[in-house]
Symmetry: C3
Subunit: 147 residues, 3 copies
């Protein structure tokens, strides 16, 4: 992973982060957010994975159904946000659409994705922080703007 | 719906808007734009819907073909913009990609979507306003930068 | 193509670019970046194409497999970035998800797309420039933050 602070205006930092082949994207971006103390950000990214796991949230089971994508795929879109979790650490939430070799697509809540050959991320931070709170009755953590 | 003005720099306001279960997303974001007098903005969002209706624009019929998605789906991407319509009110244009329980996707021009459990929106406003004008010969309203 | 500089803050320019029916999107956005001397930017877009060609990167063949989409399709998401290529000129990288008339989707690395009736692009430039360098061992050009 390499990153560059491409702009900083009145507490709004914009980073370009580029992941290397073999890196697991969710962990790498989380580590970046921890390292840079990011508590409130949105991001977009494109690139490709050699394989990934996405999730579909089952509101009855209150958990994510895991969907493995075991093939080289374009990351057609990755959109996400960063808030602080219940533990006070940066919590990343990213959804992806993946393009297969025949042009069809798959997608879901990003659980993990192994980069090949690149993932190009633009992350725009806002000052302060947001809170993401576990909601046991729903089975998921949601941004809580009252927190 | 809750919202927070997370940054304001030289007339550029950035909002995080979080929708609640049961809210209809298109109406809720439009209401937010009206309330905040947003005349020029772009947005991205992720979350999930319990059901939605998307449209595919048929250039021959000059209208949208409605495609119902009657199942719980991840909002893998929502990308949109706000301009002022012919009536001078904020006019929202959003396209979505939705992820089904088997990881396949559907998508289109967002007509309506019922949130479950959340929709997390980042909206960046620019100063001034853009105009979206009805184009009867096309059957659709398009941003008119000459207006 | 029409464009408007909707905001400029401390060297960060935000443009709205609207493409016209019949324009080829990749060439048009590249021409815009050349004209405006954009060396570092991210973009999102929505709209529709009457036809397009997308690519899936084959890491073994080290080239893109071309996938033609020969029908009217919604541009559900277009996410991309601009850097300077080895020739010093703006180099555009865009991935798209396209929505067909039945609500299914296709997508890939954007090679070309003919606009019908519009493509609405928000492009946010950062100061300075990034470099995209050809990597013959991979068969692709990647952003090089050390350059």
């Amino acid at each position: 992973m390499k990153s560059q602070l491409v702009n900083e205006i009145s507490g709004q930092r914009t980073f370009v982060v580029v992941l290397d082949p073999g890196e697991e994207a969710f962990a790498a971006v989380t580590a970046f957010a921890v390292d840079q103390k990011v508590g409130n950000a949105s991001l977009t990214a494109i690139g490709a994975f050699e394989r990934a796991t996405v999730g579909w949230f089952d509101p009855n089971a209150k958990t994510y159904r895991k969907i493995p994508i075991d093939e080289q795929c374009e990351v057609l879109s990755a959109i996400g946000d960063v808030a602080l979790g219940d533990d006070g650490k940066p919590s990343l939430h990213v959804h992806v659409v993946l393009g297969l070799s025949d042009g069809t697509t798959r997608g879901g809540h990003l659980l993990d994705g192994i980069v090949r050959p690149t993932l190009e991320i633009t992350l725009v931070e806002a000052p302060g922080h947001l809170r993401r709170r576990k909601r046991p009755e729903l089975g998921v953590a949601l941004i809580d703007l009252d927190a």
